[in-house]
């Protein structure tokens, strides 16, 4: 990997309810934003490759071939375009494929766009669509959904390590505090520990979704898109860009058993650990070098488990770090300064790209006051496909 590959443009829609819009239009909005940021909107045919991350537009929107639609919306023909699908990790997988396209020498500039419109269908239908990534006979046919897996995972974690429902609520409070400051976040309302855990009315205000997970332990159903312009910084095209690049220092993925019950321990997320180790090795850094992280907290329990697999905290101890405020924006290792999936939202195909947009904006030092990580050097993102069976880890650096 001799090429220096950088992020030279970022784009993002306001996450939330965009169900009255066409998916390709929403992705085009983010893509345009990224091309403007890179300074190449008028020269957009300098892009050598368009890559789209999307999980299930065929099921959510009755719409397929969205990469082709996007190129046409953007008036970018004949630039080649392909779709990458890896469940809720489609976005980060698309970034990885963009990286590979440049590293291979087939492209110097890649436009990577992740997008999903989930709210054209009911929340129940959206949950069902997402559940189609589970094993058809062993899991889906038994009625399992992602929230039910999250609930069982949380229950086991709590019993084994002593974490409580209140600890999960503390993560939500932290994430919502960050999301309230993020202009792109779906939920921009802070919540208090008193209201969602301690008060006499908390059990209804913060009701169960999949016990012990409650509404404030679970991400909302969200629409939105995010985009990145990636470039080989050693190519002649590097001079086209107005932004100083944020370098992609490491990107790696790993898989695990499709069926969760086949794993050596249901709480061990081996794909996270292996992807993280490979990304660290590629970047030449370790957990202690990470300034902040964007972790896939579709259920807040995953923020704890993923941070432990990455070596950011000792196994079974991450909730204690949350109690101490270590993961808050002014803590020693801020996690999910964007608000995470919990508050920023989780449009499944967009999430991985959105996480890396956040890494780039944080490393550029340009996020909103109050949620800017102090002097960050390395940011790390983990995008979690399936229930941890196909995971992408990305490390970005400020050079």
């Amino acid at each position: 990997m001799s090429a220096r590959i950088g992020i030279v443009g970022v784009g993002h829609t306001r996450f939330g309810n965009s169900s009255e819009y066409d998916l390709a239009d929403v992705m085009a909005y983010a893509a345009t934003d990224a091309l403007i940021d890179a300074g190449i909107l008028e020269k957009r045919r300098e892009v050598d490759q368009v890559i789209v991350g999307n999980m299930a537009s065929g099921l959510f929107c009755n719409q397929t071939s969205v990469a082709s639609s996007l190129v046409s919306r953007m008036d970018m023909e004949p630039v080649p375009a392909e779709l990458v699908e890896n469940g809720p990790a489609s976005g980060a997988s698309a970034v990885k494929v963009g990286y590979m396209a440049i590293a291979s020498g087939m492209a110097d500039v890649a436009l990577v766009v992740g997008g999903e419109i989930m709210r054209k269908v009911s929340g129940w239908r959206a949950t069902d669509v997402v559940a189609t990534m589970l094993h058809t006979e062993a899991e889906y046919a038994m009625g399992l959904t992602l929230p039910s897996f999250g609930g069982m995972f949380a229950r086991l974690y709590m019993e084994r390590y002593g974490c409580t429902e209140r600890d999960l609520a503390l993560i939500a409070v932290k994430d919502h505090a960050n999301g309230a400051l993020n202009k792109y976040a779906h939920v921009q309302t802070p919540c208090t520990i008193e209201a969602i855990a301690d008060s006499a009315t908390a059990h209804v205000v913060n009701n169960y979704v999949a016990e012990p997970l409650r509404i404030y332990s679970t991400c909302p159903v969200t629409d939105g898109a995010a985009a990145l312009v990636l470039a080989n910084m050693d190519s002649p095209k590097a001079k086209l860009f107005k932004q100083k690049p944020v370098r992609i220092a490491g990107v790696a993925s790993a898989t695990d058993t499709h069926c969760v019950h086949n794993r050596r321990d249901p709480l061990y997320l081996d794909a996270v650990r292996i992807a993280g180790e490979k990304a660290y090795a590629m970047a030449g850094v370790g957990p202690k070098d990470i300034s902040f992280a964007e972790l896939h907290d579709a259920f807040v329990i995953l923020e704890l488990a993923i941070s432990e697999e990455l070596g950011l905290f000792e196994r079974g101890k991450a909730y204690l770090a949350v109690r101490e405020g270590a993961t808050a924006i002014n803590g020693r290792l801020p996690i999910n300064p964007s608000g995470g999936l919990k508050a920023k939202g989780h449009p499944v195909g967009a999430t991985g790209v959105s996480q890396i947009v956040e890494l780039a904006r944080q490393l550029r030092g340009e996020v909103e006051p109050g949620r800017q990580v102090k002097d960050p050097k390395y940011g790390m993102a983990v995008n979690f496909g399936g229930f941890g069976n196909n995971v992408v880890a990305t490390i970005c650096a400020k050079d």
Partner: protein, 228 residues
């Protein structure tokens, strides 16, 4: 006060309405919402709160607001029998309104739920309070319910697992008409109330005093840039 004889004939017969004791709920963002009965003399501030939403087609706010406007007038001017109005107020500012009425001592007819403040389950809490009022305080055995918006359908028909009575049409038909009638029975209520309905009583006097002076909202998330 003497009532004109023709006016007296026009007014519907009235069932006694059992008072609904005020309660308070700590919303997720820490704000305290007081849920209480609206008073007749507050109809002006209620109408002024509802009116701007008549022009908002998204999520059927226009239909719900227009119908609620009529229901508030009907309540105030004695053209709707046995109606009650509950209001949710945060620091006195109206966050949501529900309307309903008793058809008979044993049957409630849920009218409308209008949420102004979004994202904090204000509507869910107010709808639950309305059902609580019907079944726990008015003594109804069931409440008939319809939904005009998809959000309403998700909140009430699915979350409460309401009984579908649409196959009994026209013998069972909600007064709002046009949409299928569902029912919340006492048995269903008993099954869900612990997880759906909450509130602390009594409300401390200082908080109740603030909630006693209702104010129209100055911001509507449904109407960006709204100015009163």
């Amino acid at each position: 006060m003497a009532i004109d004889p023709i006016e007296a004939k026009l007014r519907p017969p009235a069932l006694p309405i059992t008072p609904y004791p005020a309660k308070m709920i700590t919303l997720a963002n820490g704000e305290i919402m007081v849920v209480r009965e609206a008073k007749r003399e507050e109809v002006g501030v209620l109408l002024g709160t509802v009116y701007p939403l008549i022009g908002v087609p998204a999520d059927y706010y226009d239909i719900v607001a227009a119908r609620m406007y009529e229901e508030l007038l009907g309540w105030y001017r004695y053209r709707t029998a046995n109606e009650f109005v509950l209001v949710g107020a945060i620091d006195g500012v109206i966050a949501g309104i529900v309307t309903s009425r008793s058809v008979s001592p044993k049957l409630g007819m849920s009218l409308h739920t209008l949420t102004i403040k979004r994202g904090l389950r204000v509507g869910a809490q107010l709808f639950a309070a309305k059902m609580e009022d019907h079944i726990e305080f008015q003594g109804a055995d069931e409440v008939w319910i319809v939904a005009e918006s998809p959000n309403g359908w998700r909140r009430w028909m699915i979350e409460y697992e309401l009984e579908d009575r649409s196959h009994l049409y026209p013998d069972v038909r909600h007064e709002l008409g046009g949409v299928p009638t569902f029912a919340l029975t006492r048995k269903l209520w008993d099954a869900v109330k612990a997880s759906k309905c909450t509130g602390v009583r009594p409300v401390p006097p200082a908080i109740l005093a603030t909630a006693s002076k209702l104010k129209m909202p100055n911001e509507y998330p449904q109407i960006p840039g709204f100015k009163r």
